[in-house]
């Protein structure tokens, strides 16, 4: 008997140890979408749980069209409204419903803004990876259990057990694990954008025509499942005294019949509907599809600011969401301004402005500068001062044989000027990323330069100063530019 008891104790200890190891493995294998990715779903949902209880007054729900359109920090900065964006890629109304339910366990929002792109989507099955993105980081509890039950009932290809034992779904990811999979504790703390997904590019083409209300009375069919969950969302909002607001952001896929159907549904549910595709609203926010969109359905940062500010105005005036001061939003003002700067950096043509931006962000960036010397006569005192402000001496001799390299990281600054070829090797981010930088003058006086990070070339290798900017937070190169120091005005090339 005693032997059996010892065996039971040893067995339990073994199972406990095994359980811990398998838990760590599961956590490593589940995909992570942090702020260094285009769609930081993981950061969105992990961050939500970090918000002080009952601090969020407005919640945003919906698909990627909402994730890129609603900026909680912009809303706070300009209107004092505390909000959180729970939208994510391909978030259908089933997922929206359960995330609203989950959110109500921790927050008492006064308004819920729902982006209605997925109201007309019936492709539930094809959304499996995105449903997983949204549900896997929901905390375990009754809501998640209900969500899993419902999702697996609707999509019979999914298995409930794979939500509980995530290895069933993700163990094959072992062959594609990346740095992020091993940096959970470091990256999970970055949710400064509160669910907003930043998009920088612009579409630069425009076949888009806003809708004219009344041009047709046709109505599109709303898929039964989505209609059912829209009603459930509305009922849940009513139960909790929340104002539900429907919003449709600019997209080429919005047709007049869908607008009419959504309006009809909104009228039935007695909720307001703001469609930024209608001529009036489109013009009210001075939206330009050409300049404010990154593709046919997602607004850029610039477009998102326009939409958010409009919503801020109506939330404050029409729905009485009072301004307030809250540390969780105060603390991220700087991060938001950094985001705006980062988004602008690759569009800055002037070297002095560029250096000003780098100066503001140098705590977050690693900056690599090298010279491909084909003349530096146009460098002036103002430019030199800009480099001085970055902590560099920048004492360049005005001669053809000058070579120059500089590396600025949050930890230290390295700089070298010479008349012979220069090379520096090292690492940033505590040894994680290798760099190699050169500024070369060969025997035939042919200059060249190189900036390699992890053996990948990033320098433009155009004449003049070549600069590569690496964002230590997003772990990515955010700009590579050269400034032609031999031409008047020091033009930039990208």
């Amino acid at each position: 008997m005693k032997k059996n008891i010892v065996f039971a104790i040893k067995g339990s200890l073994f199972l406990f140890l095994l359980g811990i190891i398998l838990f760590i493995i599961n956590r490593t294998l589940v995909p992570k979408y942090f702020i260094n990715t285009s769609w930081p779903t993981t950061s969105t949902y992990l961050g939500f749980y970090e918000m002080p209880e009952n601090s969020v007054n407005v919640l945003f729900l919906g698909s990627s069209h909402g994730a890129t359109a609603f900026i909680p920090q912009e809303l706070y900065n300009n209107y004092g409204i505390t909000s959180y964006n729970l939208c994510c890629e391909q978030q259908n109304l089933v997922t929206s419903y359960y995330w609203l339910k989950e959110a109500l366990r921790f927050q008492k929002p006064k308004a819920v803004v729902l982006e209605t792109f997925y109201l007309f989507n019936n492709q539930f099955d094809s959304s499996e990876p995105y449903i997983r993105k949204a549900i896997d980081y929901m905390k375990w509890g009754n809501v998640k259990r209900q969500a899993v039950d419902d999702i697996c009932t609707i999509d019979t290809n999914q298995s409930k057990s794979s939500y509980y034992f995530t290895n069933q779904r993700f163990h094959t990811r072992w062959s594609e694990l990346s740095e992020d999979d091993f940096s959970y504790s470091q990256m999970s703390g970055h949710y400064e954008m509160k669910g907003f997904s930043t998009m920088f590019n612009q579409i630069n083409e425009n076949d888009y025509v806003p809708l004219l209300i009344g041009e047709s009375s046709e109505t599109a069919d709303i898929p039964e499942l989505m209609q059912q969950y829209m009603e459930k969302i509305n009922a849940l909002c009513n139960e909790n005294g929340i104002t539900l607001i429907l919003v449709k952001n600019p997209t080429t896929s919005q047709k007049i019949n869908e607008h009419n159907a959504t309006q009809q549904l909104a009228d039935t549910l007695n909720v307001p509907f703001y469609d930024f595709n209608t001529m009036q609203l489109y013009n009210d926010i001075a939206f330009s599809f050409e300049e404010d969109m990154i593709d046919t359905g997602h607004p850029s940062l610039k477009g998102a600011i326009k939409i958010t500010n409009y919503l801020g105005k109506i939330l404050q005036t029409d729905y009485d969401i009072a301004p307030q001061i809250n540390d969780a939003w105060e603390d991220t003002r700087y991060a938001y301004s950094c985001l705006q700067l980062s988004s602008n950096l690759k569009h800055v043509p002037d070297i002095n402005t560029y250096l000003d931006c780098l100066k503001l962000m140098k705590e977050q960036y690693s900056i690599f500068i090298t010279l491909k010397n084909d003349g530096i006569d146009c460098l002036d005192e103002t430019v030199s001062q800009g480099f001085n402000d970055l902590g560099l001496s920048f004492n360049l001799n005005k001669g053809d044989s000058t070579t120059y390299i500089a590396i600025i990281t949050p930890e230290n600054i390295y700089e070298n000027v010479s008349n012979i070829s220069l090379e520096a090797k090292g690492t940033i981010r505590s040894g994680i990323v290798q760099y190699q930088i050169t500024s070369v003058i060969n025997e035939k006086k042919r200059p060249s330069c190189s900036i390699q990070l992890d053996e990948k070339e990033y320098a433009k290798n155009y004449k003049g100063l070549n600069i590569v900017v690496y964002d230590n937070m997003t772990k990515d190169v955010i700009d590579s530019v050269s400034f032609d120091t031999a031409s008047i005005g020091i033009p930039s090339l990208r």
Partner: protein
């Protein structure tokens, strides 16, 4: 219920707990209840015919026994009558008479042979019949072995089932080792190889020549690993109750001839065929010609037992002819080896024979796996007519469903299987692990569990393949 499914393993855990909390003399009731519950969950539509078979064979065993002890005049005919009655369902389902839409009761092929052996052994007086109906029902239905064997003999299994075994830590741990090894074989070898095998065989018009060699070789490995996995899991599950099931394999791909292969492959079926078909037919006691005829009949039965397609019959006949031709050419081959300077026990000679045997077995497995005979012969033909050896050197292999990393895992797993098989011929690896200090033992177990957990072929996008022999 698949042996690698969570449900089955939870079920097994419950039965194990129940078994050890019951008093020793009634522990076998938990096995009986578990076996019928297992059969009900796995194939509830077949429960009635299954119970009918048990009742029929139980009655048969009692009647044959009575007839034998009282030297009834027509006892032979009584025995034959029950043999026919018991064989009828198998004959019906395993021949071309069976409609495609009709699925055979779960484990029919295995428990029919088990019952036939039981009745035959009673008839020949080797054993006494089990008089307790429920004990007999447990013998037929014992859940770890009902799906894919090994096909047990009553004198080997019966007494073990009804004896209440005490809990013994060492045996219990060794049982868990077997289960872990079974998971490894199934998820790391068989089902991973199945990805490439299915690609090649399901698209045989596209994959010719060296693809067939690769697909065929991997199918040989898949089939072995799959069947060995199931038997190992069955042995592991039985060992949790202190019950020992016989080994069904003895490193068959180390065989140096087809004759040797059949001494190592599916041993419980091979010995069954030998004891109840080949020897009753006269075996090798009635001259060379009769011996070959008996061999052909035995392998014909073996082929038919596997399924109702002509490819199974062809596969059986292939093996019969391999052995006949092998016997005819034995002297010639030995002379050739001698001429080439190989000593009788030369290391290289042994391995040349092993490789050649594996090649012959693989050709037969291609017939076994192909959709039909035409496809099989077309695939085998392409091995000799299509010249594309570069597929082993360019990236073609990575287009067959496994990335290079997955392929590496597969080859490493096959390497582990091969090395362990070689070692296993001399030592017992499980005993060596058990003799290690706890930290080493636990490290080995955790590493093995983690490897299967991460690298195994299961879950989303990989529907764990049913055990191949479960289909027979």
């Amino acid at each position: 219920m698949n042996f690698v499914s969570l449900n089955y393993n939870l079920f097994l855990l419950c039965i194990v707990i129940l078994y050890y909390i019951l008093p020793k003399n009634i522990r076998w009731y938990s096995l009986l209840a578990g076996s019928f519950l297992f059969y009900f969950i796995a194939a509830k539509e077949a429960v009635v015919p299954f119970i009918a078979m048990i009742i029929l064979s139980y009655c048969g065993s009692r009647i044959i026994s009575c007839a034998c002890t009282r030297t009834v005049r027509y006892r032979k005919y009584i025995f034959i009558l029950f043999i026919i009655l018991v064989t009828l369902p198998l004959f019906f389902y395993k021949t071309v008479f069976s409609p495609d839409t009709l699925t055979a009761p779960l484990g029919l092929s295995f428990f029919t042979l088990q019952i036939l052996a039981y009745l035959s052994d009673i008839y020949t007086g080797k054993i006494y019949p089990q008089t307790n109906f429920f004990r007999y029902a447990l013998f037929v239905s014992f859940f770890p072995q009902i799906l894919q064997g090994p096909i047990p003999r009553y004198e080997q299994l019966g007494i073990q089932l009804f004896t209440g075994h005490p809990f013994q830590e060492k045996n219990f741990v060794k049982a868990l080792q077997l289960i872990l090894w079974g998971f490894f074989l199934k998820l790391m070898v068989a089902d991973k190889a199945a990805v490439i095998v299915n690609t090649v065989f399901d698209n045989h018009e596209l994959y010719r020549g060296c693809y067939v060699i690769l697909g065929g070789s991997l199918y040989s490995i898949q089939l072995y690993a799959d069947f060995l996995a199931c038997v190992t899991l069955a042995q592991g599950a039985a060992a949790l109750f202190g019950i020992y099931l016989t080994d069904n394999f003895n490193h068959p791909y180390f065989a140096s001839s087809i004759h040797d292969f059949w001494r190592r492959w599916h041993i419980s079926l091979s010995t069954w065929l030998k004891d109840y078909v080949y020897i009753p037919l006269g075996g090798n006691r009635k001259g060379t010609l009769r011996k070959y005829v008996n061999l052909i009949i035995t392998f014909l039965v073996s082929g038919m037992w596997h399924g109702n397609g002509f490819q199974y019959i062809a596969w059986g006949l292939f093996h019969a002819f391999y052995q006949i031709i092998g016997a005819f050419t034995l002297n010639f081959r030995e002379s050739l080896y001698k001429l080439l300077g190989f000593a009788p026990d030369n290391f290289f000679k042994k391995h040349i024979r092993r490789v050649f045997t594996f090649f012959l077995v693989t050709l037969a497995w291609i017939i076994f796996r192909a959709d039909n005979l035409n496809t099989a012969f077309s695939m085998i033909g392409s091995v000799f007519t299509v010249h594309n050896p570069w597929i082993f050197f360019d990236d073609s292999l990575f287009t067959l469903g496994l990335s290079w990393k997955e392929l590496l895992i597969l080859f490493a797993s096959v390497g582990i299987l091969s090395v362990s098989s070689t070692l296993q011929e001399k030592i017992c690896i499980r005993d060596i692990i058990i003799a290690q200090p706890m930290i080493i033992r636990w490290s080995i177990y955790i590493a093995a569990i983690t490897a299967v957990y991460v690298f195994g072929t299961y879950g989303f996008e990989f529907h764990t393949q049913d055990f191949i022999y479960g289909g027979f």
